[in-house]
Symmetry: C2
Subunit: 338 residues, 2 copies
């Protein structure tokens, strides 16, 4: 891509709109608070994934409500009216509650983590929910629950949110009553029941990294099976399609926030699948925007139909690469840098 670097600068202030006039917001993932600078630099439209873990890690006690509230408000101020999707704590449960004795978890990736941990440690969870709700009066907050696997879990989350809202009302503390509620789609069960979950929430956010891991039963950190970890596996395409179809039928937003979202080679496919927003490492925004402005959603849908007929990821990647080279030879002339 080297020779095209200067070319990218021109996309900074252009809108992220396809040739057939579909606006696809490109948002930034926020891992640590200083990432805000990158988000500004690359003109991402707000924050599609604010990972709150960084507030909790590397310290002996979790941050209290006031500290969280301040941190969220600080980011919201810097987002200047763009939406900020705050994801509740997404870590293993052993980080702050050693009494849980999770050392014996043989497969922690399928253990007490993320929303399971939050629902288990209600007090810790309520503090975070209160801080997020209070922050929703400082800007456009959307709240996102990680690793939902069933309807009962999201209902439990909504119940707690409702209780805290009632409490805030009583205390006369303001918050956004229309706060959008979303869930990560990353467990295979969430994909299977996406039409049921779509009735419960305002938006989906697909976390492709975990989604691929669980669908293929391939630990994404395990080098011995790395050869099987494959975003273009026909099963993954079908899972993404089912999720987008369910969201679009229910009329709710569907965003993608895993590593796939930042890969320019996949941009046409993702728009064709029906994603409304992509959230990525902010540095990827200009490259993805450059591609999006030169393709149409309609062409993406046609390509997806063709891909869904294929049996292996090798066939899928061959077609995608050929198609993108044909459409945008200046960008995809070389095999993509991995």
């Amino acid at each position: 891509y080297d020779c095209l670097e200067q070319d990218l600068e021109q996309y900074r202030d252009l809108p992220s709109i396809t040739k057939d006039q579909v606006h696809i917001p490109l948002r930034g993932n926020l891992e640590i608070s200083s990432d805000v600078i990158q988000i500004k630099k690359h003109a991402a439209e707000g924050i599609g994934l604010y990972r709150t873990e960084f507030l909790y890690l590397g310290r002996s006690a979790p941050p209290d409500e006031e500290e969280q509230f301040q941190s969220y408000c600080e980011i919201l101020k810097q987002a200047e009216g763009d939406p900020v999707t705050i994801r509740t704590l997404d870590i293993g449960g052993d980080k702050f509650v050693p009494e849980l004795n999770l050392d014996d978890e043989a497969n922690p990736a399928m253990g007490l983590r993320a929303i399971r941990f939050s629902l288990h440690e209600e007090q810790l969870f309520k503090i975070q929910l209160r801080a997020i709700l209070r922050a929703s009066s400082c800007g456009r907050v959307r709240i996102l629950f990680p690793m939902i696997s069933g309807v009962a879990e999201i209902r439990a989350c909504k119940k707690m949110l409702g209780d805290i809202q009632a409490q805030l009302d009583k205390e006369g503390i303001s918050y956004d009553p229309d706060l959008a509620i979303g869930i990560m789609i990353e467990t295979p069960s969430a994909v299977m029941i996406a039409p049921l979950l779509a009735k419960e929430v305002d938006f989906f956010s697909v976390g492709t990294n975990d989604l691929i891991q669980y669908f293929l039963a391939v630990d994404r950190g395990n080098e011995h099976v790395a050869y099987l970890y494959d975003p273009l596996h026909p099963a993954i395409l079908r899972a993404l399609k089912m999720t987008c179809d369910a969201a679009n039928e229910a009329g709710i937003e569907v965003c993608i926030c895993g590593e796939m979202a930042g890969e320019p080679l996949y941009a046409l496919v993702l728009v064709g699948l029906g994603f409304h927003e992509l959230s990525m490492n902010p540095a990827c925004v200009p490259r993805v925007k450059r591609v999006l402005r030169q393709v149409s959603k309609q062409d993406g849908a046609t390509l997806v139909k063709q891909l869904l007929l294929l049996s292996t990821s090798k066939e899928v990647s061959t077609i995608i690469e050929a198609e993108m080279r044909r459409r945008l030879p200046a960008i995809f002339a070389q095999p993509p840098i991995q």
Copy 2:
């Protein structure tokens, strides 16, 4: 169930046929070779799942071809013409190849195991395939590959089988040229691409224990998340339905061999989903047969349609229990013993 124990005896020699005349073979799972006695005792129709692990575990070197061949033939002889489904090695890779250094696997359930290990250790795998092929001349063998996640894997297995068959031809060693080839459906990806996989094989065998684990991202051995492990989760019902539909559309057999298969309460649902065979702990055969002979596949299909509209496993289990109590009050009068 206690008061009904004598009643069960009468089912021993009756065929496993529904009221609408559909024959649903009930087969036994074989964990160790002595289980054959139980299979005879309870009149299971052959062996739906022969776990070959027991030949390999608890010893320093894997069994050689001749030993495996003898073991398989011994079981086949005892099966007296009933089919025996032999599953290739389904364990973690560290058992015989310590050089692999799999101790560092953070989540071994999503690591180098089962078919991944076999395809990695070709020599070990070829010995087992040769032994199974040779044994296929002693009885009705079906071969089953565990933990398939994509089309490329099953094609690799079939290629190796073909090569070994050619070699056996050259050596003048006999085997069953029509040996049925099947795969376990237990990874979520296999479910998603079931129509593609159905084109590659003669039968599916659904391993519900792992299927539930991977779909829900819940380690089935982890007590902290045991409350989430749920056979009646709406996502699981949908996964089973997708698998059965794909098999039935392709005209191949679909069997179920996880713990769900041995639960009398689920028998009507499983038949309604479209399973052709159930394989279980042989001791469960009489109870499941008693239920099957008093229900119809048609009623099962109607019940399944109703269940697929529900949002939570609680709703699903409530309907199933009410339905089974209504149909067979003498059997399901009490809440089922867990």
